[in-house]
Symmetry: C2
Subunit: 241 residues, 2 copies
Amino acid sequence: MVLSNPLVRKLEHLGALSGADRAVLEGICAEARHVAPGVDLAREGEAPEGVILVLDGFACRYKLRVNGARQIMAYLVPGNFCDLDVALLPSMDHSIATLSACQVMKLAPDVVEMLLERPALARVLRKVSLLEAANMREWLINLGRRSAIERLAHLFCELLVRLQAVGLVSDDRYDLPLTQADLADTTGLSSVHVNRSLQQLRGAGLIELRSRNLAILDLPGLEEMAEFRQSYLHLKDRAAA
Amino acid sequence: MVLSNPLVRKLEHLGALSGADRAVLEGICAEARHVAPGVDLAREGEAPEGVILVLDGFACRYKLRVNGARQIMAYLVPGNFCDLDVALLPSMDHSIATLSACQVMKLAPDVVEMLLERPALARVLRKVSLLEAANMREWLINLGRRSAIERLAHLFCELLVRLQAVGLVSDDRYDLPLTQADLADTTGLSSVHVNRSLQQLRGAGLIELRSRNLAILDLPGLEEMAEFRQSYLHLKDRAAA
DNA sequence: CGTGAGGTTGAAGGTTCTCAAGCTTTGTGG
DNA sequence: CCACAAAGCTTGAGAACCTTCAACCTCACG
């Protein structure tokens, strides 16, 4: 079970919510569904069934090439959901799948509409979409202009901040329920090279990664290697305009 | 001057607009500003000044690494604009610059709000945001899982469809006012390797690229090489839900 | 205690990069 | 209209980074 609602935790970082808003959010998260790892929640080409909201675990957006190569294009961690306006499109251009065991909700279009009718919520939710786009842009520079080891370092820095926002980090350490193959499909590398790059990160004393748990041993060092500027995540400007 | 308004042309692909809607759009495009190539329209770290709308020419979103490496994360071609809700964020996480000579508008937040108060327009504009996200995802798979030559082939296929939507293509041929260095910063390659890959595309009889004009000689061949599926652009579902 | 998924290692090869030089085109001032 | 400069394009050579393949190891789990 989820202790405190990660959706609420996340949205509160982005704007003040009334008690009523919070209650509405808690309400829609009532009946989360447990899903095993490696299960598709939405499939490319099919009509979107609703907004997918992750309450626990790691899911991802991905696409496959015909040769079977997979590119993961985003992680959905607790508190994340896929595009609000997804119902505007006739078919999914990508798939969504769980990477670990997850608790997920599917929000029907009318539920989403109801959320967007509450001005404070609408504002925060729109902001979330913007942040997701910013996040994707950072992934683009990661794939286009960073070396293997920098890509991994950057990913770990990003996840630290994102998971911190929902209370899943303690002591610069968090659960990372991904295989090296998953990391490879995220960073555009082969899993062999991910393995070797991870060893470099370990060898440099920057991280420890064992049994699906990541410890960041030298955060400043890791951030410097990744050239990480957390501003793009905009998770700290609580009172911002 | 722009013959017919590319913004209107583009939006009409995505949903029916009333004459009044069209008139409003035409109205806001009145005083476009001419901008030379290579000029920043918005800079990373600064507060967003408004929604940038391109009426003619090529602009781009980009980020720089501290070593000077540039990654272009999106093209803004005629009819494209940057995020509608950009005013929700306190600062830009990336820069926007012209690549060629351009005609651009900066729409003040209240103008955007006025547009979003018109239901049909709001719906279409939300859809545009969704398509832009889909486009970015395709760029992610391009950088992560395609070879140099495939990246270029895919980019050229994409631009063909996007420019067709605003009437800038005739006979599988369009103006491409980009340098090889620009293409390199788009595809995450070096300009030397872009040069060699272009030669391969020419040698295979797929394209002709001279004096900033691209001719696609063998579209099926190019699409096959790029594994191009234009569905992600969603530019054909004119009557779609 | 066997099985399977995931992690690790080595070797060889391919793709892409960097550097550096020469060439071509474009634009500008005389 | 020419000459020149600057920007962009092309080419070669060598090196770095990353991939592939294949084998082996390890650990969790039934």
